[in-house]
């Protein structure tokens, strides 16, 4: 099975999986092609792939690869 690292944990994925798919898997929210939440709300999420930002607009086209290091972050209490 092909694995990548998602928020620090091993995560199996199928060929052709995009960053958008991973965001939906983690947040439970469907996305539009633009990377906006389909429910119309603000998603408040950003993605780094191998220590580089993947802009929201590219999520739907950005196909992940084996051993990728994906971080999906959001705002939490702090500061």
């Amino acid at each position: 099975m092909t694995l990548l690292k998602l928020n620090g944990a091993a995560h199996p994925f199928n060929p052709g999986t995009t960053v958008a798919d991973l965001v939906t898997a983690v947040t439970g929210r469907a996305l539009l092609g633009t990377g906006q939440a389909a429910d119309g709300g603000r998603l408040g999420v950003a993605v780094a792939r191998n220590a580089g930002i993947v802009p929201r607009s590219q999520w739907a086209h950005n196909v992940v690869a084996e051993n990728d290091d994906i971080e999906i972050v959001t705002a939490v209490q702090g500061g």
């Binding site: 603000r42 705002a75 939490v76 702090g78």
Partner: protein
Amino acid sequence: MTELLTGTDPLVIDGVTLGSRLIMGTGGAPSLSGLGAALLASGTGLTTVAMRRYSTPGQGAGQGAGGTAGTNLFELLLANNIRVLPNTAGCFTAREAVMTAELAREALETDWVKLEVIADEHTLLPDAVELVDATEQLVNKGFKVFAYTNDDPVLALRLEQLGAVAVMPLGAPIGTGLGILNPHNIELIVSRASVPVVLDAGIGTASDAALAMELGCDAVLLATAVTRAQDPIRMAQAFKHAVIGGRLAAQAGRIPKRRHALASSAMDGRPDL
């Protein structure tokens, strides 16, 4: 009259008018609902958040905020019209801080960032070298940097010259509640700054915030003093009034300190008793 009642001639940072001179942090609150109530009680218009991994509910405790709570925090701020100020808390290097700021800009759609680059977990004091480096990089990338800094007048001025939109000297180390340990330095920073000065960190109780404003600071940023108070809502109200009181006092112009007493009642016309 309205100004006198609220005590708030508006605070303007980066061209944005904020209704309150109290900036709140969100760290240390045991529950999101309690935090929301405290934020509303404080009257704040700007609140910091940290950027962390999105954790699916039920998995990994993480920040105690959890994934859903994290998302709700953002929604809570949006719903209450409180502007969000992402921070780079937990970053030890300029590289990490710049990356965190970029993630925050992407996630929260703001180019404002509270830049925090700490030297070590024991003191949580800013690392001046990394801070300067990160400020320069972030300004070049178009960020509006709120620089959390030591109470060092030289460094504060340097950060302003690098393009920070606000400088945020600490009163005392984060979470200590020791108040303002070097009021003279804070006064010196204020006297030379041409960007807003926000007293950040170390505030323990309302009088500390009032003092910060009396020293000439433009705003106060605090979290722990409210979120870990026994009654956070009441403490949030206390800070709201303290900041207003301190601002009014700073504008009103205090009397000079004297070594000897000065009667306020005239001696003339005193009856011969």
